[in-house]
Assembly symmetry: C2
Homo-oligomer: 134 residues x 2
DNA sequence: CGGTATCCTCCTAGATACTG
DNA sequence: CAGTATCTAGGAGGATACCG
């Protein structure tokens, strides 16, 4: 039988995996981090985050809104004005992922050192010709 | 100019983003969580995690090893025996992501409620025919 | 301003087959 | 047992154009 066309459904063997995916997604992390400071308008957020396309920002915000992390406040004025802010749940989420992000930044040097060591070891292995069969 | 063919290079505007991606990746989370309990052999880990292909498990382990989170201990015996365990850095990483995962699990009900509310609101919007132009 | 709709291009996960 | 090599479908995400 074919699996569902909705990727969210297929990966949802564990539902929390999906939520994790949403909040740790490339733009999800940055959006949550930005909104932790204050509320933002769409274009403002786009500039703040930097490098995100309209499509991806809209998609990210919709996902986060649907999950109950972000509140969307669309004012019926012309020109349109839409403000995004964190819900209480979203604030918790943002603090969690931001905590992880901060930890990661703290350890980035150690990771780089580890990588250099790993790559050098590989290099040496290749140099001493350990059973390479090309 | 063309950007690099290595996705890790392109996404690395922020190096910590990459590390985050490695530890929160689909299988990364589960591998770290498993190794938090004890060390595992390759096939053992494959069974424990469940649903992971050999290729993806190998790739995940290599990435985590390169980042300095996982220690690979290959014993020169026949048949081969390779044990994987967490380094000190990896233990920290695992605790961080596991913390996030636990938080997510705790809030999964609230997220589902939020989603139901969101979907229902969309439904109603469509039902009352608000300016749909198909 | 704040989005959608459409197209299009890579990337990546997974399946399969093979090796030391 | 513990992986590597190769192939492929399809999904993620960017570019572009358009709408209310």
């Amino acid at each position: 039988m074919a699996v569902s066309r909705d990727p969210d459904v297929n990966r949802a063997m564990c539902p929390s995996r999906l939520i994790l995916e949403h909040v740790t997604s490339r733009w999800g992390v940055l959006v949550l981090a930005a909104l932790l400071d204050r509320s933002y308008r769409f274009s403002e957020l786009r500039r703040e985050v930097g490098g995100v396309s309209e499509k991806m920002l809209a998609q990210t915000l919709q996902t986060l809104e649907r999950d109950g992390f972000v509140h969307r406040d669309a004012k019926p004025v012309i020109p349109p004005r839409v403000d995004y802010s964190l819900t209480e749940l979203g604030k918790e989420a943002a603090e969690q992922v931001w905590g992880l992000a901060r930890w990661t930044e703290k350890r980035v040097d150690e990771v780089f050192t580890a990588r250099a060591r790993y790559d050098e070891a590989k290099e040496r292995g290749a140099a001493y010709g350990e059973a390479r069969t090309p």
